[in-house]
Amino acid sequence: MADTKELINALSTKHGVERRSLLPILQGIVEKENYLSKESMLEVAKVLDISAAEVYGTASFFSFLDTKERGQYVIRVCKSMTCDMKGKEEILSTIESVLKIKLGETTQDKKFSFLETNCLGLCEEGPAMLINDDYFVKLTPAKIREILDRYLRNEI
């Protein structure tokens, strides 16, 4: 929590404490902590002197501002129709079998969270997915295994 406080202080020094600073501060927290904890949202409310409900209202509006605990790497597989037609299901089941978690879950070591996302705009190269801010296209089960293996062996 001390770290979170320091982080939020640094972010508010950088972005200011106006109402409009809320979004960049929340993004900054997610970048470092993967999600917005209850404590971090309360701290943001305190620093900006706005209600916690307002912070949560803003956070819950955006898919990429998670308010549930997430792992170090958040995998988001595109759920659009095009990726679906290009074999998304097989991608999902491969990830499930490699990481041993179901869609929506986080691995016990808090390394991976496994989610779907709305269209990434990479339809012509689908199926596509994001791991944090990096995107991967033309996915196949073999490619997934290879990508996840690199993350598992910290070779990224």
């Binding site: 209850k38 949202m41 309360l42 409310a45 305190k46 706005i50 209600s51 916690a52 409900a53 307002e54 912070v55 949560y56 209202g57 819950s60 509006f61 955006f62 308010t67």
Partner: protein
């Protein structure tokens, strides 16, 4: 004419001020446009779309609440296209709504239900998309119940909590089909910064936000022959209850209310005003003590002193300004003083076992329910107040009892603890506590009545958000010579937005005042969260007028002249701020979470 706009609505020319919405322009020529998200107390939202009108020359329909009138506009408010659109909008709203109207607390007083009936909405057009999860009612708060299945997401509550109260306990959360009005991380209503003021309830168009009801427990107590059930009613109830029972706004129904409550089986019908008068004595003495400490003993004291009658305000300061709790008067609210005395003084005098007394408070307030359940409010050895009922609940109880209210004779409050003065009656209006306090404090200091015609201290009255006044003490009695020539500066704030302004002054050390009255609800208790719905400024003013008329009609109009107050000091309390008073009539406050 630069600031005037002329437009045509349904063939009638109308000239309005620049900036007037089409909706308000239509209102000026008696054309009614239906609304749901619109409320005159609140900023424009324009999100329900039911107020759409046709603007000639424009293809799309226009939300009349959110569009300013413009020169040369030709507006149609009733055309086949509009009727179809409104009916469709209603049908969509209804498709998301829990339409079990027959069992809804707001049935017959629900804006959605009324419009749905007016437009004869066919609920077979759209499939119901009501979500099961939303049907779970949040009943965690002592005061406010929240039922998302009845919510139409008009955000009137959100704007009320933000604009009027500056609390922001409610916010819009999630997005799209999942969007809902909720709290921080969907916490239950008792775990958030909610002040329980209930303004969200009186601004809600449907039954999504209601007060927690206790009247079934009260009926059960009345039916139990072992229980001695007493009720005390607050001043604001008697000037608003009539609205529930067929009277026009601003009708005083004090006598009929007393008769009804007696006929319903309350063993004793008493007046919160008695403890309002007592509050004035205790609080006035406390104020004089603080002034003496400051001026004579040069002790550091918390000035300005702030009133503590409004439980919504108390919870607000506990959440928002906990470092300034010392400014609050230590006096309990009249409701809680009444409760503590009901199970001690009253029980003794009447020879009743306090364990068998059920003490009910009829209040214009939602926060009083929470206040009654504060763990520290048990100084009588029992829960001092067993239940706080709203004016609305009392109205429904009277209806349930089958009485023909309008035909009832007038009756007087029972004794003891039923005597009151005009000073106590005006507690119900913003500025009232201040006026009552000044009437008594001025008399105590100078031995003379306040220098205002008919005791009416008009500068502290009215609906202005923050009012300031000053009273100079001259020719003081010897005991109060330290106040000779002192100009007491007072302020009155109502609505927590205004309370925040006052508190920010205090926090900055720039507050020029000695004594401040703060009420959580706009207009004071007459505009409370437990009052009949709707409440607008016009309605608030009529209730205020009724309060002052009630005051003028009282033979005694100063708290220190209340004979029952004199009696309780002689027989029981001995002196103001004495040992008994401290034990029964005063309390402490606590810090609560800020966000």
């Amino acid at each position: 004419m630069a600031n005037k706009i002329t437009l045509t609505i349904d063939g009638h020319q109308v000239t309005v001020e620049h900036g007037t919405s089409i909706l308000d322009a239509a209102k000026q020529i008696n054309i009614k446009i239906p609304t749901l998200c619109h409320h005159e107390d609140l900023c424009v939202a324009g999100n329900c779309r039911i107020c759409v009108v046709e603007q000639v020359g424009k293809q799309t329909l226009t939300a009349s609440c959110a569009t300013p009138a413009d020169n040369g506009m030709t507006i149609l408010t009733s055309s086949p296209k509009i009727r179809r659109a409104r009916k469709d909008i209603m049908a969509l709203l209804v498709s998301e709504h829990n339409t079990q109207c027959t069992t809804c607390y707001r049935s017959t007083n629900c804006e959605l239900q009324i419009l749905s009936a007016e437009y004869n909405v066919d609920n077979s057009i759209y499939m119901s998309v009501l979500k099961k999860d939303d049907c779970e009612i949040d009943k965690a708060s002592w005061s406010v119940e929240k039922d998302n299945s009845k919510c139409i997401r008009c955000q009137r509550c959100v704007r009320t909590c933000a604009d009027i109260q500056h609390v922001n306990a409610l916010a819009v959360t999630e997005r799209g089909k999942d969007m809902k009005i909720s709290t921080f991380m969907h916490l239950p209503m008792n775990e958030i910064v909610c002040t329980n003021c209930g303004q969200c309830i009186t601004h809600c168009p449907t039954g999504a936000l209601t007060e927690r009801r206790y009247y079934d427990e009260i009926w059960a107590a009345i039916d139990n022959p072992e229980k001695h059930v007493i009720i005390n009613t607050a001043p604001a109830v008697r000037v608003a209850l009539g609205e529930m029972l067929g009277y026009p706004v601003g009708t005083r129904v004090t006598g009929k209310m007393v008769t009804a409550l007696k006929k319903m089986g309350f063993n004793s019908v008493l007046d919160t005003d008695f403890t309002a008068d007592l509050t004035i004595i205790e609080e006035g003495t406390e104020l004089l003590g603080r002034l003496k400490d400051a001026l004579v003993h040069k002790k550091p004291v918390s000035l300005p002193m702030i009133t503590s009658c409004s439980p919504g305000w108390i919870k607000f300061i506990e959440h928002m300004y906990p470092e300034h709790l010392g400014h609050l008067s230590s006096c309990k609210s009249p409701q809680q003083m009444f409760g503590a005395l009901a199970k001690t003084y009253y029980a003794e005098k009447k020879g009743i076992d306090p364990a068998n007394i059920v003490s009910v408070a009829g209040m214009p307030c939602a926060a009083k329910k929470f206040e009654a359940n504060r763990p520290e409010m048990r100084d009588s050895g029992y829960q001092d107040v067993d239940a706080g009922l709203t004016t609305r609940e009392l109205g429904y109880m009277i209806k349930q009892s089958g009485l023909n209210f309008q035909d009832l004779e007038d009756d007087d409050f029972d004794k003891i603890m039923g005597e009151s003065t005009g000073a106590a009656v005006i507690f119900g209006a913003t500025g009232g506590v201040m006026e009552a306090a000044l009437r008594t404090v001025y008399f105590l200091i100078t031995g003379r009545n306040v220098p205002f015609e008919h005791l009416n201290i008009t500068p502290v009255r009215g609906l202005e958000g923050i009012k300031a006044a000053s009273v100079k003490f001259e020719n003081c009695l010897p005991e109060y010579s330290f106040l000779e020539g002192v100009e007491a500066k007072v302020a009155i704030a109502h609505g927590l937005k205004n309370a925040r302004i006052i508190m920010d002054q205090i926090a900055a050390g720039t507050s020029p005042y000695h004594f401040i009255e703060i009420m959580a609800c706009p207009g004071g208790c007459i505009g409370g969260g437990g009052q009949p719905i709707p409440t607008t400024n016009e309605i608030r003013q009529k209730r205020i007028d009724a309060i002052y008329a009630e005051d003028m009609g009282k033979p005694i109009r100063m708290s220190h002249e209340n004979p029952e107050v004199a009696q309780i000091y002689a027989e029981y309390l001995k002196v103001p701020l004495g040992e008994k008073s401290h034990h029964l009539l005063h309390t402490k406050y606590r810090k609560r979470n800020r966000y």
